[in-house]
Amino acid sequence: MSAFMERLTGRVKLDGVFAIVAPVLAVVFAGLVTSVVLLIAGNSPADAFTTLLDQGSTPRIIVLILNTSAAYYLSAVAVAIGFRMNLFNIGVDGQYRLAALLAAAVGGAGLLPGVLNSLLVVLVAVLVGALWASIAGLLKVTRGVSEVISTIMLNAIATGLTGWLLTADRLGVLSGNAIGTTPIPEDAHAPGWALIPGTPMQVNSFLIVAIIVGVGYAVLLNRTRFGFNLRATGRSEPAAVASGVDVKRMVISAMVISGAVAGLVGMPELLGGSFQYSLNFPAGLGFTGIAIALLGRNNAVGMAVGALLWAFLDSSSNALQILDISKELVDIMKGVIVLSVIIAYELVHRYRTVAAQRRVSRELAAPAEVEGAAV
């Protein structure tokens, strides 16, 4: 089971063509399953997919996809940092919501002028996310509490805490029936650019932040000592201990970094869309991140593709209602993609293991090595 989870979360690499083939097969398979569902419901799959694609290629929706995918991607990276060392940070959801609320409150107070205020907002979000996640890390290393349990519970606590903080006599401000934090002054809004011709909608600058975080993630994991230790711990904790890795410190560090990135998840929306934390602030992005991290096998590029795919499905799903198809169809599709991607990775992994062993014994061209204990 644990070996299976390792393959699932990408700690075992799939190289070359397999890294592409497996997810593509999974998406195709998900398309087939969704088609069957549509046929059963009496709709035309061709119409549905054409509508999705048509809608997804309109300039307005393209901008929407790009902006949404920034948040999805940040969430996936936050989850992936934990995954790579066998830590399941289910708590990204609570971390980003709490971070966004407190950051929104600080930003709304307008303590600093202009761009300094937006930087302050981001800094507060990162710190709050890191701190909230570090609780789970500390509980794990000092008391052996499973981070899965503690982060799930911290999510519930974060929900309660944000609800309590977002009341009129605390951080909330009542306007009509709606309650939210004081809106962040306009000079602190994140800049955007109307990059896509044909629509005045702006691509938000957090797309660039997401790309930088993605590059940073890849570099940190693959090129640094810290990343090596993190991956080594994920692959084999006993081997990491024997090699001198301080596993407890790694657990704390990984949770803190994961939480810090999680803190960024709410920022595209806060500084680029709503400018305040209200009851309408998007929830559940942390769980989206888990699905995308699985889909992209914790690979920086893979997760980017996954985030774009998810954003595409979410952003263009409304168009299905024109055909009288429930937009929840895309949820079925997302679910099937995740399940089939897991199966596809497993099948490809088995094929690859056998192929690699064959290759090694063939290339050595020695009389077949006898290994009685080989199972």
């Binding site: 390792e6 692959r235 024997a242 001198g244 301080d246 056998v354 290759r359 090694v360 090595e369 290994e371």
Partner: protein, 533 residues
């Protein structure tokens, strides 16, 4: 092999007859054209090196693996097993090397687990089970008490429970996989007495081992497996242990002997008063003396261990496995905390150092279990080169991993240590055990270590790799390395060590001169039988 091959021609059908058994795994042939004939009522030993294919063969016989070719006959009729259930149905039972008993259940509950006798549909008929267990225990002289709690039993008793478990399921052919590995000598004798009773009652026993003395003592017939195939069937009366060993390795035995002494008077490692309490005693104040702890009834894993290793010296630690060797190694590596005592390396007190700092200070470590502690199996060789050396040249530059440097040095290790691999980008898992071990040895010798902790350095590797590893250890010793050698291979210990200490129940109980001791004497010292050196 020719002259030793004796066909056992028995009047009745053999209990087990294997012909032409072949089993391939991707990339390896685990068994090739295996022929085996086991007479009814015999204790038939299967001997062979680690990795020779004994385990795979037994898994085939027990239905855990299916052969690609060949035929299995049980009592004369051909069978085909798909699961262990089929094998059990045919009267075959297996006693695994590692006991599979639930500690918190009684003997009775453990025995019936999975084949509970029913009474009135739902209820378990404990009465009938207890009666049957008593009958079996008396009939075969096992002396098992059905209502004893398993956690209160010793190792020998647990093994008898395992045997009873398979008898309870109606087994007439017993496979014992390395049954003596976990036993101390007097328990081995008891086991052999039990086995003799079992065969007298008409059972057949397949006894897998690589301990040749034991095999010669108990077996009625011996089959030797080498490189996946049966190379000889011999009778114990017509063969010596040395002859058997040569049949096992297929050539003259390589000798681990070192030539002249290179021991200097410069102390590299000094361990003094090292004491470690067993987990589960709650907090014990650091620095409490071993005597005080013992007086308080605290169980000690390591008790007041002191020794020094000099530059150019190999210190061997002999002992039956599980007497504190693993704990000692982990204490010196800083992987487990100790209760009292000090460790110093080259004059510096390293007792409070982290594992990383100790490694940086020049301790190399060949772990006992290379898959658990020595390698990242599903990472390429060059990443495995970095493991344990992730703060040192040529693997890193500051906080960055130096890929080019690490890859280049991995290639150097592959070349110098003769690691057979198509390249440094294959996963460590794809290499054979011997080549994995050579990679580890090469890595741990890198960066000019001053102390090497070698825990079972040649366990489970083929003879060629074994000789190569011995050479590397000898050369390093000549170059001034201090080595702490822990091994279960007494010839290796005696041959390589400059001095030898015997560990028993966490204590150093004897100093032995490797120049004057025989494996037999060392073996008896390991069991505390007497200090006749």
């Amino acid at each position: 092999m020719g002259e030793a091959a004796i066909t056992t021609a028995i009047a009745t059908d053999p209990a087990v007859e294997l012909t032409g058994i072949t089993k391939r795994f991707p990339g390896v042939i685990a068994n090739r054209d295996v022929r085996l004939s086991v007479a009814k009522g015999h204790i038939h030993a299967i001997v062979g090196e680690n990795g020779a294919g004994k385990s795979t063969l037994m898994k085939i016989l027990y239905g855990m693996q299916r052969p690609d070719e060949g035929e299995i006959r049980i009592n004369g009729s051909a069978v085909s097993f798909h699961t262990p259930g089929d094998a059990i149905g045919a009267g075959i039972g297996m006693v695994h090397q590692h006991f599979m008993l639930a500690d918190n259940l009684t003997v009775l509950e453990n025995v019936i687990l999975g084949s509970e006798p029913r009474k009135g549909g739902l209820a378990i008929d404990f009465g009938a089970a207890r009666k049957k267990i008593r009958e079996l225990s008396d009939a075969y002289g096992l002396g098992v008490e059905p209502d004893a709690l398993v956690e209160e039993l010793g190792v020998g008793d647990r093994q008898r429970v395992e045997i009873l478990k398979v008898l309870y399921r109606g087994a007439r052919i017993l496979i014992l996989d390395e049954p003596t590995a976990v036993l101390v000598p007097h328990e081995v004798d008891e086991l052999f007495d039990n086995l003799r009773v079992l065969v007298r009652e008409g059972l057949t026993i397949l006894f897998i081992s690589h301990k040749l003395d034991e095999v010669l003592k108990v077996a009625d017939a011996i089959t030797v497996i080498r490189r996946g195939t049966t190379v000889a069937s011999v009778e114990p009366s017509g063969v010596t242990a040395r002859k058997l060993a040569e049949l096992m390795v297929g050539s003259e035995l390589p000798s681990p002997e070192t030539r002249e002494s290179t021991v200097t008077d410069v102390v590299t490692l000094e361990v003094s008063g090292l004491t470690m309490v067993a987990p589960g005693h709650g907090p014990v104040p650091k620095g409490t003396s071993a005597e005080q702890l013992k007086a308080d009834g605290v169980r000690l894993l390591l008790e007041d261990i002191s020794f020094t290793i000099h530059k150019g010296e190999v210190l061997g630690i002999a002992g039956v496995e599980g007497n504190g060797q693993a704990e000692l190694v982990e204490a010196i590596m800083g992987m487990r905390s100790i209760t009292a005592g000090t460790i110093s390396l080259g004059g510096a007190d390293i007792t409070a150092w982290s594992t990383l700092k100790r490694r940086e200070g020049g301790i190399g470590f060949i772990p006992e279990d290379r898959h658990r502690h020595g390698l990242l199996l599903e990472a390429p060789l060059w990443e495995n080169r970095i493991l344990g050396h992730q703060t040192r040249e040529p693997n890193v530059k500051g906080v960055w991993i130096d890929r080019a440097g690490a890859r280049k040095d991995t290639q150097r290790i592959v070349d110098e240590y003769d690691v057979r691999t198509p390249g440094i980008d294959v996963d460590a898992a794809a290499l054979s055990g011997g080549n994995q071990q050579k990679l580890i040895v090469g890595r741990e010798m890198s960066g000019e270590p001053v102390l090497l902790i070698a825990s079972h350095p040649t366990r489970g590797v083929d003879v060629g790799a074994q000789a190569a590893i011995w050479d590397h250890l000898r050369n390093a010793r000549a170059a001034g390395l201090a080595v702490l050698l822990i091994s279960a291979d007494l010839d290796e210990l005696i041959g390589l060590s400059d001095s030898l200490k015997v560990i028993l129940r966490g204590r150093i109980v004897a100093d032995v001169d490797p120049g004057a001791v025989t494996p037999e004497q060392l073996g008896s010292a390991m069991t505390g039988a007497g200090e006749d050196t």
